[in-house]
């Protein structure tokens, strides 16, 4: 078990302490400002650094520092192509909507995205649907993010597996709920700045260290290319990892585990020499007991392949952990692993298929999953260019930040800063985790989520105090990424419940004091509910994050974008766009709830179909139900004189924050 250095522990605690101090400072400021506007929107006073870092840090979630490194580790350089639309994501996601959304929000006094939609289309139903959708997607996302936060703490401090996750979850939840509820939006923004700096600093310092340890990128590429074809399998069940490596030229396609579905079946290995290499799989028929349950272990399969007359001479079978329960890795740390457990291929699933991966395949596209399918085919490449730059525009969490900046100059400077931030984080991550594949070769598809933590704790952990502090900073980077997303989302749910549902729909004359208490209480209660849900978290963290991000864009981008830029957009068009986009996203992802795969129609990601349906319906229904009401068109698209501007504010100049105060 790897030990955590004192420097890591101290730096981590110092980081948490900084977060609490920022929350306390923010809370003091809260007492001097209008409560709702300050608590949920920072009084629209964000400067360029604050805007840039809160925008970028909110976008960089746990996926950026756990899921993305894991994919780079598994598939190599094709991830540079996968992430490529970040070259314009900053300028597009801020520049397309930023200035206009901020102006419209100021014009109407809106402090949430449902506020903006409700006022723009003069429709309470639209506002309520928007709030409900935000709560649905946000809760799904928060469960995944809480899981990521808990796992990072568990891995970093090597907490025992029986209670480590629960302890990590409690530490993460208490920290993030406290500072978000206590400090509100400004605390979230300030901590986002801190977290953004940690991310950039961590990545910038890690990059040269990793490349030097790998002997330079040229050398790393060569080592990857010269690796013999390797098949890594880790079927369900504890400690069954096998590495099957070709001794010479590759003359088989992969390995099939088969469950024979009958009692007392012996273990058999078949390999048909008469079939072409592309169709020739090593077939492993697992042994079963009297009840038909699998009894074969990883060791049994290894021995069977080694004793096979032809396979034994062509392939070398090994275990990443030398088949010992406790082993010492190349960094001198003792790791508990082995390959003695029963292979977990149950009788319901008759076949598992694994494919050989040549070393050079991680230097090219499209990459291959361990099931043999292309990782990033053309349809997905096009979809992912939409995913980051276009989908990024449609996130309520980032839109909210565009309503909070001070003036146009602030936005301009923030665009430049965010562009620099994305360039300094995402491209270097590709370099780092391509190199990590050489430095830490033992991970496989199932546990490569640990790549980030292993790089930060092992590669730099034993290099003296300075590097230990660097390691600690780097460990804080993914933690910061998760926290910066979670805090924003907690506030978004809280604002939805307090502002959009309670104040604007149920009780518009609610007192300022009640609003304040309700805001604190709602943030805490939502945090506790999500913590409880995350005690039994779903698998596939990255899949949930992609689902919620795509769902937000398919629901919100069209009504917001066309509402800001098209005079002909009607309330019916907006509602159709939201319902259509939401339905497509949920429908296309629904099979994943039942263990199936999401629907990638014609090879494109559901994200793209959601946007097409949403924009198509928004345009067509608006054309059919138009024209839009004249007073709304005049209010949003024409410059009014000051007296008209006063009338255009629904509350006639009274604050909607404190209308009854």
């Amino acid at each position: 078990m790897t030990e955590t250095s004192p420097a890591t522990t101290i730096t981590f605690i110092a980081y948490i302490a900084c977060v609490f101090v920022l929350a306390a400072l923010s809370h003091r400021l809260l007492a001097t400002r209008s409560f709702l506007g300050e608590y949920f929107l920072g009084s629209r006073g964000l400067g360029s650094w604050a805007l840039a870092f809160t925008f970028a840090a909110t976008a960089a979630s746990g996926g950026s520092f756990t899921g993305f490194p894991s994919l780079i580790y598994s598939y190599g350089w094709v991830l540079a192509f996968w992430i490529a639309s970040y070259m314009v994501a900053g300028v597009c996601s801020m520049g397309v909507l930023g200035k206009r959304l901020n102006q419209v929000a100021r014009k109407t006094g809106a402090i949430t995205i449902p506020d903006v939609l409700r006022d723009r289309y003069d429709s309470t139903a639209l506002g309520l649907f928007a709030t409900s959708t935000i709560i649905f997607f946000t809760v799904c996302n928060l469960i995944a993010q809480f899981k990521a936060g808990a796992l990072i703490i568990e891995e970093t401090f090597n907490l025992p597996s029986d209670w480590g996750y629960s302890a990590g979850l409690i530490i993460f939840a208490v920290t993030v709920i406290f500072y978000t509820a206590y400090g509100g939006f400004r605390a979230v923004v300030w901590t986002d700045v801190l977290q953004g700096v940690v991310m950039v600093l961590g990545i910038t310092l890690l990059l040269p260290v990793i490349i030097r340890q790998g002997g330079g990128m040229e050398s790393i590429d060569r080592k990857l290319r010269e690796r013999p074809p390797t098949l890594v399998t880790s079927v369900a069940g504890a400690y069954n990892d096998l590495v099957i490596q070709a001794r010479g030229p590759l003359d088989t396609a992969g390995l099939l585990y088969r469950h024979p579905r009958r009692a007392n079946a012996p273990l058999q290995i078949r390999w048909d020499a008469g079939v072409g290499a592309e169709n020739r799989f090593i077939e492993v028929f697992l042994a079963t007991d009297g009840e038909g349950q699998t009894t074969s272990t990883g060791n049994d399969v290894k021995r069977a392949i080694e004793h096979h007359p032809r396979l034994g001479t062509r392939f070398r079978v090994s275990f990443p952990y030398d088949n010992n329960e406790v082993v010492t890795d190349r960094f001198g740390h003792r790791t508990e692993m082995g390959a003695t457990g029963v292979i977990g291929l149950d009788s319901h699933q008759s076949t598992e298929r694994f494919v050989f991966l040549r070393g050079d395949e991680v230097l090219f596209g499209p990459g291959r999953s361990h099931r043999g399918a292309p990782f990033h085919p053309l349809g997905m490449a096009i979809s992912f260019f939409f995913m980051w730059a276009i989908t990024g525009m449609g996130q309520p969490g980032t839109m909210l930040r565009l309503m909070a900046f001070k003036d146009s100059r602030t936005l301009k400077r923030a665009i430049l800063t965010v562009t620099g931030f994305y360039s300094m984080v995402y491209l270097p991550l590709v370099f780092i985790f391509v190199a990590a594949r050489v430095l830490i070769p033992e991970l496989n598809a199932e546990n490569s989520d640990k790549a980030m933590v292993l790089v930060t704790t092992r590669v730099v952990g034993d290099m003296g105090l300075a590097y230990q502090i660097l390691g600690a900073v780097l460990v804080a980077a993914p933690f910061a990424a998760v926290m910066s997303t979670v805090d924003s989302f907690l506030l978004m749910i809280s604002s939805g419940l307090v502002r959009d549902i309670y104040q604007r729909t149920i009780n518009p004359r609610v007192s300022n004091r009640t609003v304040k208490r309700a805001s604190y209480a709602t943030t805490v209660i939502v945090g506790i509910v999500v913590t409880l849900l995350a005690t039994r978290p779903p698998d596939f963290l990255q899949r949930i994050i992609v689902f919620t991000g795509s769902g937000f864009a398919a629901t919100f981008l069209c009504p917001v974008m066309l509402g800001l830029y098209w005079k002909g957009m009607t309330r019916q068009g907006a509602l159709s766009a939201m319902v259509g986009g939401f339905t497509v996203m949920v429908g296309f992802f629904l099979p994943t709830l039942f263990g199936g795969s999401r629907i990638d129609l014609l090879g494109f990601h559901p994200n793209l179909w959601g946007l097409i349906v949403s924009f198509g319906l928004g345009f067509l229904v608006s054309k059919g139900t138009g024209p839009a009401p004249t007073h709304l068109v005049e209010r949003y698209f024409y410059k009014l004189n000051p007296s008209q501007q006063g009338q255009s504010t629904r509350y006639g100049g009274q604050s909607r924050d404190d209308s009854s105060a």
């Binding site: 314009v88 200035k99 100021r106 050398s219 100049g653």
Partner: protein, 119 residues
């Protein structure tokens, strides 16, 4: 009169969407043709095919030995020309956009709770 913030924002929005489209077309085309070892056959072989316009895509399949790393940076050639080069160009265009194309509009005043207007 048309709101100048709306007019300027719309102009900037159109510019940025074209920038995104240009980056998308270049990067996806270049990386797909130059960076893939094996190109999948067109899913609809009997219908209209991209292959009729540019020839069969499998003609662009690469051999592993053909990989180079420009400038000795250790970055595969297709990543260098398909991702890093347009990324640098996009950053330069973003800087120019902010300096010369983005207008610093005066955003409308906001009413606060006292009924006074502040920016």
């Amino acid at each position: 009169m048309i709101d100048p913030v709306f007019r300027n924002s719309l102009r900037e929005c159109i510019f940025l969407l074209f920038l995104w489209l240009a980056c998308c077309l270049y990067t996806v085309t270049y990386c797909y043709l130059a960076g893939y070892l094996v190109h999948e056959p067109h899913p609809n072989a009997t219908g209209p095919s991209l292959g009729k316009l540019v020839g069969p895509l499998t003609a662009f399949d690469r051999q592993p030995q053909s990989l180079t790393t420009p400038l000795g940076l250790g970055v595969p050639d297709w990543v260098f020309y398909g991702v890093i080069t347009p990324w640098v160009a996009a950053v330069v265009i973003t800087i120019l956009f902010c300096l010369y194309f983005f207008s610093e509009d005066d955003l409308s005043a906001e009413r606060n709770e006292a009924g006074t207007i502040h920016d």
